[in-house]
Symmetry: C3
Subunit: 313 residues, 3 copies
């Protein structure tokens, strides 16, 4: 997320009670986790093995749990628990504000858009023109929806990222990373009934122009779905997955997090995609393989008894 106005790094340091090392004149312009970070952003790191990646990222200000050498032109904010400090900043700059109406006064809804009964629209939501939002849809705060979008009943746009830090020493072990990202749905997208599209941890979950989703589909936090994709019912997409344009996923396909599915790939029903796959091909299986290859393999498996007999004859 970006701040409305830049904040002096000295002010950030005092908000979270950190020791400031490096350039004290910097202005923070946003807040981002490491995968989405941009110049001007505050980010955080709390594992020694990620220190270098974080310090050398585009982040201008890094909250860190050890006093290390501060890279030129940056600032580091040193304290014991960077995760909690980062979460406190999310809560400060993107506070949860309860809603009292089904449609927030701060929401903007374009001309020609039809909101069927009982659609919930949170604060600062923007919806474009000529959309049709069916009953009982929930659109969380800060979501952005383009023109000519159709969302079917019961779908949830912008629920929190499923992202926790484990604190094995505590009784309640999973510590929530509060999310300040958004969902952005581009023009001419259609989303089926009872789907869930989570907001990004700090960046945007994006559904590209002209993409069509069937029912009961889950899109994880920060996933970026390309243009003109087609996902059949009950597909699940993990966090920060990148699905390029024209990808077709058939029913119940599962896609893991942090991977890329190349342009025009087709994944057959019930397959599981554990890591990146090239575009332009058809895949099948859990884990997925080239579909023709996988089908040959299934045929080979059926010949095992024949091989056994041959071996014993």
């Amino acid at each position: 997320m970006k701040f409305e106005t830049p904040i002096p790094v000295t002010e950030i340091a005092s908000m979270i009670g950190a020791k400031l090392v490096g350039n004290a004149d910097l202005l923070a312009t946003g807040l981002n986790e490491i995968h989405k970070v941009e110049p001007g952003d505050i980010s955080f790191v709390d594992f020694e093995k990620y220190y270098n990646a974080s310090l050398n990222s585009k982040a201008t200000i890094i909250i860190i749990n050890k006093e290390v050498d501060c890279p030129e032109g940056k600032a580091i904010l040193v304290l014991d628990d960077p995760f909690s400090a980062y979460v406190s900043l999310v809560k400060k700059f993107r506070p949860f504000v309860p809603s009292t109406n089904m449609i927030s006064d701060t929401a903007v809804v374009g001309e020609g858009t039809i909101l069927q009964p009982n659609v919930f629209i949170g604060h600062h939501v923007r919806i474009g023109k000529n959309c049709l939002i069916h009953p009982n849809v929930t659109i969380y705060d800060h979501s952005v929806i383009g023109d000519n979008v159709i969302i079917h009943a019961g779908t949830i746009i912008g629920a929190d990222a499923f992202y926790f830090k484990k604190r094995a020493e505590r009784e309640v072990q999973y510590d929530k990373l509060e999310s300040c990202g958004r969902v952005v749905i581009e023009d001419n997208v259609e989303i089926g009934a009872n789907c869930t599209v989570d907001k990004g941890v700090s960046g945007d979950t994006i559904i590209g122009r002209g993409t069509k989703l069937d029912n009961l589909i889950h899109i994880g936090h920060g996933a970026v779905i390309g243009k003109n994709c087609l996902f059949a019912a009950q597909v699940g997409i993990g966090g920060k997955a990148i699905i390029e344009d024209n990808v077709i996923l058939w029913g119940q396909v599962g896609v893991s997090k942090d991977l890329v599915i190349g342009k025009g790939a087709i994944v057959l029903a019930q397959s599981g995609v554990p890591s990146s796959i090239e575009g332009g091909k058809t895949y099948f299986g859990t884990p997925v393989e080239d579909a023709r290859h996988k089908k040959r393999e299934l045929a080979w498996v059926k010949r095992i008894p024949e091989m056994w007999n041959k071996l014993n004859s």
Copy 2:
């Protein structure tokens, strides 16, 4: 769908700007895609390879993109883009009318039926007697629900069919086939929470008498589910699948479109059904096979290392 009153074919031709060939005295009585067509219906075809099937179907009036010989007793309506012409007729005869109340004034609800708070009931919906519809259920326009039906919270009845024509030359490539079919739920059906049952493209999606669905189940457009079936949670059924009576599908089973599952078949959990299967048997696997056979196959796979050793000894 059927029209309220028959429409002269000449009137249809002028609505869509088509050249009329054949019997100009015909009356159109309904609108149907090729899989559901009945005498009196208007249908459409835009691929040369389907011309014969369409012209020889039960359709009385065929919208087509080439001037071919018109079969005896029928009429053809010739224009460049039959798909768009058909969609324009759907929009004309089954227009979307926004709802202003949670329960439409045109809905009919039978005696003894309980509607829990915040149930949405669209226009022209008919619900029978002694039903129990739990909170936050959405029932789209024209759905028909029998007697003694229970629908649990959050379930969506009658969302649009997931059916698009690809227009590779356009920027927004998937062109929506507007659906004018219905969902018909027969007596004594129970549907769990957060399920989705899509309407048919032009015919009915049917859930047969006494069938029970668990939660988070998807039933695709135009599927016909028999009587006394039992589907466990997270099952997904593709469009126009026919599931005969007394079929049992365990959790997370996926069923492809355009197939038949025979009477009394049992499909074990997480299996995938890609094509028609006979009734009276138990199935397992993706793709499904006879369950005992599949289990033997799994046992054979475990013997590969033994075979390898034997081969190398």
Copy 3:
């Protein structure tokens, strides 16, 4: 379920028209199906092969369809159809009462808890302090929710157990076991969007302290989920499954009913768990096996063509 005040067994016998055999002075204190039964409870049995298990269970009063020897200190209630008699008692002692408001007057909501717009809260629901319940959530009657719980939009807590008795001789074959159990969600649980957590048949479905569920997850009736578990999106858990503490289930995992997943087990995405598995290990596959073992097996399958060549050389 427990009765508000104990009921003489003679009164129960006359309610259901049963012949009372054994101790006629007993008081019934609750109603439970066989898996959850406690001393003082009424239970039922209608299959001869379960007679002994039922008569020797902790149940004090057993509804049964044959006049057998009554165990010391118990009572049996003899009639033709114990299932229907039991269901009639459930309906009598836990009658369904329609709701007229979105939030029942009998619900108790703790201090600091935020209910977003259009949350349905049924009769006798108890919600603790500092919870956040997002829009369009449905919480059925008698559910119990602890402190600091977050429930995302569209989730359904406490829908009916999916549990039917087959009556092959009837036209409507599946006869519903009315459920009188509850859902109990402990402190610091977070549940994602569009999940479904069913109530127990007669006991409680429990989600343990600090457990976090992603979106579109199904938890079956009477399942007991431990503390600090993590379930990714689209996981499904069958009825009465016991998931011990610190279990991690990745996306689209399916877990069958009536089994135990041991403490700290990890089950990889899309796997299927058909029966109990030990804690402390990582699993993969349908049916699940030790993940390393399963991956070796997948590698062996790829060597079948090589074996075939060797065999034929």
